[in-house]
């Protein structure tokens, strides 16, 4: 047995089964909670009532959008693609959808032109709608190739 194999832990029950605890956990939790509390106090002290409301909306809203909308939407997409597509086609299409979503997330503000300033042409200087169209075309061309390869790899079983 090599040293690497000796260091490896064989498959077994999930490591988290024992749950958190111990000195490292509690010291980290106390230090971390103190930093969180101090940061929240500073956030409160540097904000006006109007900005506090806006801050709370974005701070809480962002996490909620992820947990209550985005992640469930991903699950729905998994269900729909499972419903509509042959088994071998699902993974390429899901990866294509994931990359499409990523490109749209990263480029949303540019495509919508939210930051454009008429008196500053060096800001957002490209035709981002065209850029995104080209990127999405490239992504789905790659998906199409992957689908052809997957179909040649073995049947269209559902």
């Amino acid at each position: 047995m090599s040293a690497g194999e000796a260091a490896a832990v064989p498959d077994g029950p999930p490591a988290a089964a024992e749950g958190p605890g111990g000195a490292l956990f509690w010291i980290s939790a106390v230090v971390g909670a103190a930093v969180v509390a101090y940061a929240l106090r500073e956030l409160w002290s540097v904000s006006s009532p109007v900005s506090r409301a806006s801050l709370a909306r974005f701070l809480i809203g962002g996490g909620l959008v992820h947990d209550a909308l985005w992640a469930p939407l991903v699950a729905v997409v998994l269900v729909v693609t499972a419903q509509l597509l042959p088994v071998r086609s699902r993974l390429p299409v899901r990866v294509g959808l994931a990359f499409t979503a990523l490109v749209l997330i990263v480029s949303w503000a540019q495509v919508r032109g939210y930051g454009v300033r008429a008196n500053n042409p060096s800001l957002l200087p490209r035709d981002y709608g065209l850029v995104v169209a080209v990127l999405l075309a490239a992504i789905w061309a790659a998906v199409a190739v992957a689908l052809v390869v997957a179909q040649r790899g073995g049947g269209g079983d559902r």
């Binding site: 498959d11 806006s54 269900v79 071998r88 990263v106 939210y114 200087p125 997957a150």
Partner: protein
């Protein structure tokens, strides 16, 4: 097919997806550990470089931002924005990997477990907030009513505090997950696991289920795609690939991007025939120079980057008079230790003043510049004169300068 039949079909697919999620290596501890490590590295780089940017803009008694190396801030702030953008797919992949844990029942099993889960709230909410506001900021999109800089700064501290607690909670689990033999990283490995004792993470043998290796590979590719299409705003050789960046470093007046443009008041003051550049404060003789007199002083040319806090940068050639030369002409001894405040026509703005330490002000390349690339400064670059000095955030490279005030310590 009847509606009942269709509903049954959807339920069957949903059950299939649920069993897929439960069986998939995408959602096991090893995947979460690897993504957590990657995210920990990117967030740490992002936090440290952000903290350095904060300290460069808000000097303290215990930390002096150095004048050299000249391109240090270009590297740190480029890293700050690049790691932040690259973290978007990493965070989404990590949150998806652990998403099933959100619904675990009972929600906690001990006091320590409750503490661990409570600390996830500032970690997740803070992470999403930081990446959203940071990305919107570099696009100049502000759909909120709070101060971006202060909120981004303190939410970063909040998130790091929660990250410390999370690392303490997950260190042991992560080490174990990473040391465990990887039998599900590939489809072949998954098949082997199925054929083995059947203990451990469920296999990934369906072509519809990504293996762990594939999931991590696609995540890395997504981060790479975001980086490749944006980092050229500061990495010159990649400028043509920066198709999703909010800037291209060679687009702007005189081939240099611009962040802020002058108001009508600033424009009028900067082009006035009465313009005088002043040196005052703790000096032997105050100077009040016309633009022609300023330009007639012994000049100095330096190649320095202009680096915006929003992550773009551009190396350029600047010509002007050194701050040291101006202080010497005003009778400030070379032996004096000074602070220098550079004053702009942007009256009432947050950018009206910037300060320089003695080291920064006496640097050989710290200039009150009037030429860029051999031509008079464009109005958007700070005509008639601006500060350009090594290793400074762009917001401190004050434009439309009317005076410098010298204070001896």
């Amino acid at each position: 097919m009847t509606a009942t039949g269709r509903a049954a079909g959807v339920r069957a697919r949903a059950d299939e997806v649920r069993s897929t999620v439960e069986a998939s290596p995408v959602h096991d501890e090893r995947t979460a550990a690897i993504l957590g490590l990657a995210l920990g590295v990117s967030f740490t780089i992002c936090f440290v470089t952000g903290l350095l940017s904060h300290l460069a803009q808000h000097p303290t008694s215990w930390f002096a931002w150095p004048a050299r190396p000249a391109g240090l801030y270009r590297v740190t702030q480029g890293l700050h924005v690049a790691t932040g953008l690259a973290s978007i797919p990493l965070l989404l992949a990590k949150l998806w990997a652990v998403f099933p844990h959100l619904f675990r029942w009972p929600p906690f099993e001990s006091a320590a477990h409750l503490v661990e889960r409570v600390m996830l709230v500032p970690l997740v909410f803070g992470s999403v907030f930081l990446l959203f506001t940071g990305t919107a900021n570099v696009m100049h999109w502000y759909p909120w009513r709070f101060s971006f800089t202060r909120s981004h700064y303190w939410v970063a501290w909040m998130t790091v505090g929660a990250l410390v607690a999370h690392v303490g909670a997950k260190a042991g689990t992560t080490v174990l997950a990473l040391r465990r033999r990887d039998t599900t990283g590939t489809s072949a490995g998954a098949t082997a696991a199925t054929a083995g004792d059947g203990v451990g993470p469920a296999p990934s043998s369906s072509p519809a289920i990504p293996s762990r290796r594939a999931y991590l590979g696609w995540t890395a590719a997504a981060s790479g795609l975001v980086t490749l299409t944006t980092v050229g705003q500061t990495v010159w050789p990649l400028r043509s690939a920066a198709v999703l960046a909010p800037r291209r470093p060679d687009i702007g007046p005189q081939g240099v991007p611009v962040n802020g443009v002058p108001s009508a008041e600033v424009r009028a003051a900067a082009t006035s025939a009465d313009y005088r550049f002043r040196v005052y404060g703790d000096v032997e003789e105050e100077l009040s120079l016309t633009l022609e007199e300023l330009r007639s002083l012994p000049g100095h040319t330096a190649a320095l980057p202009i680096t915006c806090v929003e992550g773009w940068s551009r190396q350029a050639t600047w010509t002007g008079v050194t701050v040291s030369e101006l202080m010497a002409r005003a009778g400030v001894p070379a032996s004096a230790t000074v602070d220098v405040r550079v004053e702009s026509f942007q009256h009432g703005s947050a950018y009206q003043y910037s300060t320089m330490s003695d080291e920064q002000a006496r640097d050989r390349d710290a200039l009150i510049a009037f030429d860029l690339g051999g031509e008079p400064l464009h109005m958007d670059h700070g005509y008639p004169a601006r500060l350009i000095a090594p290793n400074r955030p762009g917001v401190l490279q004050t434009k439309w300068v009317e005076a410098i005030r010298v204070t001896r310590r």
